[in-house]
Symmetry: C2
Subunit: 325 residues, 2 copies
């Protein structure tokens, strides 16, 4: 999808006349919020002038930052497009004068009513990951940076987008055997810790709250690799399983340090390593931003295998959409 | 301690000559990072010109944002003052041209060697909370905002600082009985979920990773009240304990919604309510920023009671400071 054209049109038709784009608000709930973490990490890392905020939709509506206004781009994502908090967030952003870009998989979504530009994204195993929300939101933010202050890694990012689907297709095949073995080994566990760093920390959170808590009713907690040694590691023992997603790029030393400790003091340790899965062929200037895109797809294999062995379908819910809340 | 004088001196002696203060980096590890969350939330909420970043120290050193430089104020906190990652972060910030303010309880801390201004803070049950790091870091950021673009709630914030110690002293007495009952009731649990929102989400994280994981070797996970309904709530049942810290201020509706759901579908629910504990006497414009200051002190009563019943002293470690890592 043409994220460059969307951003350029918003800049020309709106931001140019109000003094320029200043803030990017990344707003969603649960799994869709997870998809925004890499974009937020990217803007925080690379931008000198754009202020990026990432907020769960209901907090955004109740406690929006003072800056939200006509120089703001608010990106709201909801898979079904009717999540009440996300629809309210898009409506609220528009009321405050912000431009909104929405993303959804539902062409009849209520969300679209509060959208200056909507991306109807692809989904499912046969879709390209570059057309899934995580890559699309990252791409929107790369374009926002490139078309305002410029981004030195822009050409490298485009090269990465051209390569990532091929890398992921190979990685998914590569983990078939090990994800099945993982599922057999851990089928009777009730609690998992999920570790990562950098752009992928959001997916550690996402795998915990979506794949395990929501879809498997399993207890789970995300941890940042850099924080592990400052408290959390005290629970490390031979009983609890740890899943460590090791990044390619700048924060890899943080993940490697966790790996070394867990190998010594833990017994149940599953390592998913972006380097071993081939991500290292991407340009060094941007490779770190693609880690979570890879991890999302690869970890889908792990959760599918686990769901299958546990005979707990990924779609089963007891509260979501079943009771009032 | 005079945070106003520290900020004014840094502005006059440094920032004025380089074009002004633009970024605030809040950098630490574990419990000290937790102390920075309210300040980061405050600047994100209230500031139009200052860009606030909160990062665990090792990620800051390996993947620092491009903006880190002469227009940046980096605040680094370490209780013992010799945490290698935090010392490295302060050194790195200075090398990049940033001004550093450090906070520690150790007058011989290595951290002080890389400090433009150091606050030797008070600690322990007989210290005032306004002289503890969470309130001090918040106060530094309030001053940074007031002395650059101005902050409408400044007088209210000072009024809050004058009242908060009295409120907390009463609240601690108020929870004596209930924290003892909590400890008796939950002494044999192995996993806790900790929920809050707004400025207090950081302390949900902190209670999980420091008070429970580090100090009690108990499994724990923080959750944002706004995110609970978008995945995590699927694990709610009658077996797992939930601790909900309910805020006074803008995000209270998010916490109330969780309370109502947990009362219906959970059995083991402990509610710690800032309103019931008297925080509502603070000015509405700033009350929300004081929630985590209150919760920190009040939750110390809960963790002490739990440690006592479990006969697991809060100081016991198996890895931290005991083995190489």
């Amino acid at each position: 999808m043409n994220t460059a054209a969307i951003i350029s049109s918003l800049i020309n038709q709106h931001f140019r006349s109000v003094g320029g784009l200043r803030q990017v608000f990344l707003v969603a709930c649960g799994g869709s919020l997870v998809d925004m973490y890499p974009a937020n990490y990217f803007l925080n890392s690379e931008s000198a002038t754009l202020h990026s905020y990432m907020m769960t939709a209901n907090e955004f509506v109740h406690a929006a930052p003072k800056t939200l206004g006509s120089q703001s781009l608010t990106i709201v994502c909801s898979h079904g497009g009717n999540t009440p908090e996300s629809v309210a967030a898009a409506e609220f952003a528009k009321r405050r004068g912000s431009v909104t870009v929405t993303l959804t998989h539902n062409e009849n979504a209520q969300l679209i009513a509060f959208s200056d530009s909507n991306l109807l994204y692809a989904w499912g195993d046969d879709s390209q990951v570059i057309n899934n929300p995580m890559a699309l939101i990252l791409s929107l933010c790369v374009e926002a940076l490139q078309q305002t202050e410029g981004f030195d890694g822009y050409a490298d990012f485009l090269a990465g987008m051209a390569q990532i689907d091929g890398i992921i297709a190979r990685a998914r095949r590569q983990v078939q055997g090990r994800s099945a073995a993982f599922a057999e080994k851990y089928a009777r566990e009730s609690l998992f810790y999920i570790l990562s760093s950098g752009a992928s920390y959001g997916h550690a959170y996402g795998f915990a709250i979506c794949s395990l808590m929501e879809m498997q009713w399993l207890n789970a907690a995300p941890l940042h690799s850099g924080e592990y040694f400052h408290g959390p590691f005290e629970v490390t023992d031979s009983n609890t399983p740890w899943i460590l997603m090791m990044n390619e790029g700048r924060t890899r030393p943080l993940d490697e340090r966790v790996r070394d400790f867990l190998r010594q003091y833990g017994d149940k340790v599953e390592i998913v390593d972006a380097r071993e899965l081939g991500l290292g062929v991407l340009p060094p200037s941007v490779v770190e931003y693609f880690n979570p895109v890879l991890f999302y797809s690869v970890m889908c294999e792990y959760r599918s295998a686990l769901a299958s062995v546990r005979q707990h379908p990924l779609e089963t819910r007891r509260y979501m959409g079943q009771v009032a809340y």
